[in-house]
């Protein structure tokens, strides 16, 4: 895994992420991020919420990727 965050991911809004990948809610909750159901979720990008909650964007995106990978394994 690259240590450079995937910029496509970083600029995606939280609402778009959750619409595409509802399981991402788990990663948000694990970091104490109150984004699920938030009125601001359609307007804030992952890079912005990581800044607000003082979470490393690299680590956060890494966790999203790991999660996606494990989901894929489960479905195949």
């Amino acid at each position: 895994m690259s240590l450079v965050p995937d910029m496509n991911y970083a600029d995606e809004t939280v609402a778009a992420l959750l619409a595409r990948e509802p399981g991402a809610a788990r990663v948000l909750l694990d970091h104490g991020m109150q984004c699920v159901g938030c009125a601001i979720a359609p307007f804030e990008t992952l890079a912005e919420v990581c800044l607000i909650y003082e979470v490393s964007l690299v680590q956060f995106i890494g966790e999203l990727r790991d999660r996606g990978a494990s989901d894929e394994r489960e479905t195949t």
Binding site: Q34, C38, A39, I40, F43, E44, V49
Partner: protein, 274 residues
């Protein structure tokens, strides 16, 4: 001698009544050996300690001594009740060590903490002023010792020693001030949250992303917000102006931009500030 009497005459802790409207809680009152606790073992030390208690401020030791002789020391481990809401207000307490919280139960059974008492504080005073029942419960949060007088005894003390009566009024006035301050905070915080939520509702339905933040994409006046939240234009103006000063909101006439959307969410949802 007096101190020794006080210690051996340890009063029975108040029985725990069932909370009004809530599930009965099982709490066993433990009878403690008061000698192991922090009541001074000689009368002089006790008089000296109680002379610093606001209720007895200004009393000469020879006046204080017989008053103290009428008291029953009551000691409690943490989590026990000196008295419960609704119990007959039979005793008047001065906490000499430890800490207790004064609570009420809501009709839904939730406990609300109304205040704390520490060493030197008076509690359970209503009986001496004629109220038949305690309006609150007094629960220890750490091992505590209180001196207790029967309400009749304390009423007599208040009648015969104006200094004590004036001290009691002063103490009650301070508590009233404290409650008024907390009431004001509660009222303003509630309105603040309502207004923040209203702005977020508008953002949810009509938000538009700008480079600087999130705009509510139609004209919204402060009067509109006041009507959405059941408060006054004055209150909305005051809140929104303070949020503008803090850099949370921007915009202009009938135009609202959330410059720090998360700060507003934190207000609306009572999140810890990040």
């Amino acid at each position: 001698m007096l101190g020794h009497n006080l210690i051996t005459r340890a009063a029975t802790p108040v029985r725990r009544a069932q909370p009004v409207g809530g599930a009965p809680r099982v709490r066993h009152v433990i009878h403690l050996n008061v000698q192991s606790m922090a009541v001074p073992h000689d009368a002089t030390a006790l008089v000296r300690q109680l002379a610093t208690v606001p209720l007895f401020k200004g009393l000469a030791p020879d006046i204080l001594r017989p008053i103290i002789a009428l008291a029953h020391p009551t000691s409690m481990p943490a989590g026990m009740f000196f008295f419960s809401e609704g119990d007959p207000a039979e005793r008047f307490f001065v906490l000499t060590s430890g800490r207790a919280k004064l609570t009420q139960l809501t009709p839904e059974g939730h406990q609300v903490v109304l205040g704390h008492v520490g060493p030197g504080d008076v509690f359970g005073g209503v009986g001496a002023f004629g109220d038949p029942r305690y309006p609150v419960s007094a629960e220890t949060v750490e091992p505590s010792i209180a001196l207790a007088w029967t309400s009749g005894t304390m009423q007599h003390v208040l009648e015969t020693h104006p200094t004590v009566a004036i001290n009691a009024v002063r103490f009650i006035a301070e508590r009233l001030h404290d409650l008024q301050r907390r009431y004001r905070q509660l009222m303003t915080e509630r309105v603040e949250r309502r207004v923040a939520r209203a702005l977020l509702r508008l953002v949810r339905d009509a938000g538009r992303r700008l480079a600087t933040g999130v705009e509510i994409d139609f004209p919204v006046s402060r009067q509109d917000i006041a009507e959405m939240t059941g408060t006054t234009l004055y209150t909305v103006s005051r809140l929104m102006s303070s949020w503008e000063e803090r850099g949370i909101l921007g915009g202009g006439r009938q135009r609202i931009v959330l410059l720090k959307p998360h700060a507003l969410v934190a207000i609306a949802e009572d999140l810890p500030p990040s």
